[in-house]
Amino acid sequence: MKDSCSSISRLLEKHFDRETTVDEGILVQDHLRQCTPCQAQLKSMEELRTTLRTPVDETVQKETFAWVWQKIEREIQDRAKPSWQESIRAWFGLSFPFRRRVWIPAVAVALLIIAITSPLLFKETPSHTELSIVEYVESHTNNVMVFESEKENVAVIWLFEGPEGESST
């Protein structure tokens, strides 16, 4: 082993874990081309990894992890259902101070809109029949004319008692 091997050996582990920088990688690669002991050390590292990895991979491939999923599902079911307030809170995902900052002006604006619009919505608009003065008029003996003047606020019911009566109005 050369003197430079001692400085490279630290980088060799990093190189094996693929953690070296580009410059460090070039340095290690150049060194490995010339140094057989370091090549052997790297090879032994790879062998060790393979030895450790193979049984783990085999076990993982055999395992379906069904029991893990069952456990997770049980956990989800066992967890208490949140109240509707918590659900809403979670749905909005807002923290308490932020909620206050948003909801107070929102409620104030809503109340203001209700206060402005409610008199208009619930305002009683008199119907035509309510505005008129004469509700009904009936005469079995004479002709009758009804005239309502909105401008004068007056209604006239005229009873025609003869042909000359019609010309008087």
């Binding site: 003065i133 004469v134 009873l159």
Partner: protein
């Protein structure tokens, strides 16, 4: 003694004119207040004779002169009667308008600022007109047509709230 003296002093301070004004006000307002308390509506009925004989307008009809002038073609208007009736709900009141013409007026409904009347015009006791009218402050109904001499009778009905 002290109380009697104080009362005398108040009467003296008020003076004759003030006292007479208060008496008049009480006399005017008392029937209105009593009728309101009893659920009555003060109803004004004016019986007018309208004709084309002459061109005189009764001074008592000054307030409705413009209305009459814009609605009818008569040249003369004479006030025959001016009645103030305190009508109680569903109690018909019969008034003899002129000779064979009479009217029966009934307050059928009374609301805050609204009064409904049923008015029947009768000629020699037989009905010639039946109507239902709704009056509110400032509104007048004029019922006209029945012959009277050379003209016609006009009934002006308004309610006071």
């Amino acid at each position: 003694m002290a109380l009697r003296r104080t009362r005398r002093r108040i009467i003296y301070v008020m003076g004759k004119r003030t006292r007479s004004t208060i008496v008049v006000l009480v006399m005017v307002l008392a029937p209105l207040l009593v009728s309101t308390a009893l659920g009555q509506v003060q109803t004004r009925l004016r019986i007018i004779e309208a004709s084309n004989v002459g061109s005189s307008i009764d001074p008592a009809l000054r307030d409705v002169h413009d209305q009459l002038g814009s609605l009818f073609n008569f040249t003369s208007y004479k006030l025959l009667r001016d009645e103030s009736l305190a009508l109680a709900p569903n109690r018909p009141s019969e008034i003899n308008a002129h000779k064979e013409i009479s009217l029966e007026i009934t307050l059928t409904k009374q609301q805050k600022n609204k009064a409904e009347y049923q008015i029947r015009i009768l000629r020699e006791r037989s009905e010639i007109l039946d109507t239902k009218v709704r009056l509110s402050p400032g509104r007048t109904v004029l019922i006209g047509g029945p012959k009277h001499g050379q003209g016609s009778i006009i009934l002006a009905i308004s309610a006071r709230f």
